[in-house]
Amino acid sequence: MIDDLFHEALRSSLDHCVKCTICETACPVSNVTPLFPGPKYAGPQAERYRALGQSQDESSVDYCSGCGLCTMACPQGVKIAELNAHARHTVKQRTGISLRDRLIARPTVVGRLGTPVAPIANAMLQARPARVLAERVLGIHRDAPLPRFAGRRFRTWARHRQAPGTGTKIVYFHGCGTEYYEPDVGEKVVAVLEHNGFRVEIPEQDCCGLPLQSNGLFEDARKYVLRLARSLAPHARDGTLIVGNATSCTLMVKREGREILGLEHDPDLALVSRQMYDVCELLLELHGRGELRLDFQPVEEVVAYHAPCQQQGHWIGKPALELLALVPGLDVRELDARCCGIGGTYGLKREKYQIAMDAGADLFDQVEASGARVVACDSETCRWQIEHATRRPSVHPIEFLHQAYRL
């Protein structure tokens, strides 16, 4: 029932499709492989047949990486990527979902298993024989960029930190990447927020459900995103803003959960969605009001900046660029290639790894040509892909603000 209702809402947008092909020019995947016929073909065009139960071979929608660039490029407001996500879900319901997809869609399970045994787990993930085995047994490509467990959890640090007692209350949504792999990014986000007068609260939270959604596990994804909404809503209710650094996860809460999972009418999610900010979006907004602290010390560095697709899906432009421009000494070079290819978990899969690498090739070439030593990028899976493909470090933009504040 819920499926039918929300699908109708999405599908009504496809009547606005005039077949102009602008989405086709934006798609990073159909550009490099014939296995995905392109957003217009797989989306608005095929949807008309699906509606009549006449769809043909639907296996190609699984090759959409869910980046969402088609929806953003569409001048008519057609929800192309969202329709494709729904079609993927329908196909997967019929064909079943592999153990691999069920596993990589659960970062909290993987994170909890790996963290206590991080040195062993990390060694395994780097070891060729183990990766070959994982490729054969699970279908995770042997060269795919898997993150290293930090061996500690961000929440452990958060529980023991000395939080300032004053300031404007703000809630930090850190996401799984920060929790298990990059707790230092979370620490820097908190430090930058506190430096700007916020009192940061870090309530209990779990995965937003995005990887489940992108792997077609809609029921599980709904449970996760609603559980997250329930735990954040009490804070949002008194007008408190929620801020996150993982742009894919914040987008899931802002929009994708509601649109793709059909949760438009959940009041908690609606509230949390409205109060959710990307950290760079929030800091630029502060700057717009003249409230951002500008006591930046010089950072002598040449940085390339790539805005991830799902950061672009916030439809807020590139606030990180404007923030980094405030740091003296920092020479920031904007890259305009569309996508790194990874699509969250897409590029980890044996059959999609090379497609993801090819989709990101323009970006990797631009990194090479930029002369930058380091790549700033808002989303963690994109950073891991960029590091893997370019052999250059890739960091969240907040790193440079943290460094410039000398925190």
Binding site: I22, T71, L251, M276, Q312
Partner: protein
């Protein structure tokens, strides 16, 4: 709470008109943000700048034809801004392309003489300013033409195109080249990306060279590169040892995307900002001034405060102006007063699709500085303006470019007057 950001000028729309106005403002030192619901019509357009092609007879010399055209169409955008405003806009545009991210790629032409170039179906179209990669297609040349189709590009019919070029009095024939691109079907932009690769070009030319006759010009669909069109075109021309020209394709359009890429690069270089996906839904006003626009971004709205607003949202085609079932037309963002509506009882539409459609000339009412009526600081550019029927006049890009350029000038003059005061 809504996020709120402050700019000197907010431009709504990322087509040629919007990007031109925004870039020009940014180049003059203004902090500019372009908000757009999606990519504009550049990706669909042929990439030529057609200023005036038909009045209704075919125009060979736009500069000579414009005064009479303006005299006969006093409500046309060109009549508002004056002919003198058009040439500087063309020069500005050509310079941005030349300076742009595609080394060597440039435009050729001016208002003195239209190029007469074949379209995808081989009809002859008059354009004032065209990419260098198209110029050799001019119908004034008597050199025979070989139109080259590719089997994978199903939207380009070389035989049809050549047949119509023949009807225009030029000896033309069609050939088809088969080349493996790893898929059964490709669009023009997909192929253009392949032509950025030198080894692909070499393989293509090797097949094509066998099919050509001495003295023929080579017409290719516009697929000669996205990243390096000048390099791709020069290379193919050199390898074939003869003139090669591109014919604009059905969408998506590689030359149109080159225009978008060049203008966006110029905007960025000048410090301007583009926000895609942000549909402007509402505005805030103080008296007759619009002080901010509200954009529907993911999750919450974002307020963009600005001293100046440039509305470059397009007309009926883009949904910027809508016609209701009650026959009332509305400008969808600000509800601005419109001009050119047929009076009650008058014909609104004509039965012949390509005939003069009275309703199509409806647009936002502006004064001679392109300022929207009943506002102090909202300027209008491009297809949102009234009085034009671009597809009959062959004037769409010319209007977009010249009015975008002019609207920025109008803002800068007001800004200058304010600063002096």
């Amino acid at each position: 709470m809504s996020a709120s950001l402050r700019y000197d000028a907010v431009v709504v729309g990322a087509g040629v008109a919007g990007l031109t106005a925004a870039t020009r403002l940014a180049e003059s030192g203004a902090r500019v943000c372009v908000l757009a619901k999606g990519v504009g019509s550049t990706h669909l357009a042929p990439g030529t700048v057609d200023v005036l092609g038909y009045t209704p007879d075919r125009v060979e010399h736009p500069a000579a034809a414009l005064p009479e055209f303006i005299a006969a169409h006093s409500d046309h955008p060109y009549a508002l801004i004056g002919t003198d405003a058009i040439a500087p806009a063309l020069q500005w545009f050509a310079a941005r392309i030349e300076r742009g991210p595609r080394p060597g790629y440039r435009y050729t032409g001016d208002l003195d003489r239209n190029h007469l170039l074949p379209t995808a179906v081989g009809a002859i179209r008059p354009s004032a300013l065209v990419p260098e990669t198209m110029a050799a297609g001019d119908a004034r040349s008597t050199a025979p033409v070989c139109v080259v189709g590719l089997r994978v590009l199903r939207d380009f019919h070389a035989t049809l195109c050549a047949g119509n070029i023949r009807r225009a009095g030029i000896d033309a024939r069609a050939v088809e080249v088969e080349i493996d691109v790893g898929r059964v079907e490709a669009n023009a932009v997909g192929l253009a990306r392949r032509f950025d690769d030198e080894s692909f070009r070499a393989a293509f030319v090797a097949r094509l060279a066998l099919l050509l006759r001495p003295g023929e010009r080579v017409a290719l669909p516009a697929i000669l590169g996205l990243r390096d069109p000048h390099g791709a075109w020069s290379d193919v021309q050199r390898r074939l040892g003869r003139d090669v020209f591109e014919i604009p394709t059905l969408p998506p359009s590689a030359p149109g995307m080159r225009v978008y890429n060049a203008l966006l690069a110029a905007l960025r270089a000048a410090g301007g900002r583009l926000v895609l996906g942000a549909e402007v839904t509402d505005v805030e006003r103080e008296g007759d001034r619009v002080t901010a626009v509200r954009a529907a971004t993911s999750g919450h709205d974002t307020i963009y405060r600005a001293g100046w607003i440039v509305l470059a949202t397009g007309g009926f085609g883009s949904g910027a102006i809508e016609l209701g079932s009650d026959w009332a037309a509305s400008e969808m963002i600000l509800g601005l007063p419109l001009q050119g509506m047929p009076m009650p009882g008058e014909a609104r539409f004509a039965a012949d699709y390509f005939a003069h459609q009275p309703m199509a000339a409806v647009g936002v009412a502006v004064d001679s500085s392109l300022r929207a009526r009943e506002t102090d600081n909202v300027y209008v550019a491009g297809a949102a303006l009234p009085g034009a029927v671009p597809w009959r006049e062959g004037s769409g890009e010319g209007i977009a470019l010249a009015t975008g350029h002019f609207a920025a000038q109008a803002v800068l003059e007001r800004e200058g007057a304010t600063a002096t005061a």
